[in-house]
Amino acid sequence: MKIKITTKELKSDFAKEVEERSGIDVKACYQCGKCTAGCPVAYEMDYMPNQIIRFVQLGARREALTSRTIWLCASCVTCTTRCPKEVKIAELMDVLREISLEEGLANPLEKNITTFHQAFLNSVKKHGRISELWMLNEYKMKRPKTALQDLVVGPQMLSKGKLSFLPHDIEGKDAIKRIFEKCKPH
């Protein structure tokens, strides 16, 4: 796939920014493509994992941060495991997602994924632990188009006692709320 990027869009300090935040040295990548070859989700991505690294090297900030790829990364860590230059690619995806969210650049086509993360963390913030049923409920309310897809599995889980109506509140849930407050991005 041909990608056109003009030099005036490039942010030359992007690689440095990423390195400062995460300690990941993207300059080490020599584009062998091993990360992409082993990525189980590459077939769904708009850019291949090695292209995302190239974007960061070149300073193509917007391309990297608005890609669907960073959200589709399943964090299986196969790429990091196999990289001959020890570039932590899976961990790089974490940093890119973080910056992408902070700047409101998350690709709307992967809204299901970002909404899921939000619903998951809201449940932890509220109770200290995941309350799967209520997390599921929040996610489905926010993404009504996904409501039908679990109509078979959901009730079966309930009948087998694999979902509980009672949230699992911990004693230190106020401490958890303070953790969330203090970790809010500035």
């Binding site: 189980p40 769904e44 399943a74 964090s75 899921f116 932890v124 995941i130 889980m157 699992h168 401490a175």
Partner: protein, 289 residues
Amino acid sequence: MRIGYYPGCAITKGSSSEEYGTSVLRVAQEIGPEIEEIRDWNCCGASSAHATNHKLSTALSMRNIGIAEQDGIKEILAPCPMCSQRLIISQKDVQDDEKLKKEIEDIVEMTCNGGVKVSNYLEIIKNYCMDEIANKLKKPPKDLKIASYYGCLLVRPPKVLKFDDPEDPKSMDEIVKAIGATPVDWEFKTNCCGGGFTLSRPNVVLKLTNDILEGAMEVGADAIAVACPMCHANLDMRQKNIEKEYNCKFNIPILYISQLIGLALDIGPISLGINKHFVGTESVVNAFS
């Protein structure tokens, strides 16, 4: 020695994979080790925290480590590989970065030095229970071929987790052998099942799990053994969806390795939570009688 128990959200009572927790605890009663739940533990934040907020992910994990340290716990069993991976990575991150350590201690309002050993379930069995399994083996199965499925998080990233071979792990196969079943050689031991995408990107999960189930079928496995609640949920609870999507029939039972150990020790299937599975497990249970 007392080992701290960090079940994590997915395997506690009333959760999607409670039978993993049930069977881990039941088996520990028979063959040890002695375990004690971490006081007032909280969720590690799993993928949703580390994928969106590194500091939050580290803080959530480190609160648990701080509590364990206060209670004098030196080793933690975290049967969920997502939890064990997060607890290990977070400790390494604070140990490598003094500034981050101070910041995290301020956030969680306690000291956390980060020197607690965190072990996954396979490690605990391998390190403490192999002799006990040999001594108490009552019902080794007849002709049961098991595909050991490790998934991602038990072995990756290998530089941090330092557990088994990331491309061809053997520890679960050794346990399978120890209970008298036959481990099969197959190619999908550490392939990804799609993990947490089961709600947000089910199509990805269906494709990846279809590949894994096909791989197990090809080598004639009677069942797949897992040690991860997400792997189990995707392979077991989603199996009907996979069959429908790809117009095929698998009907492969998916069991936690703890349940297989339990069956070989002659613990009743119900007290191992085997009745909680979606795909029928009678063929496996019968092989043990």
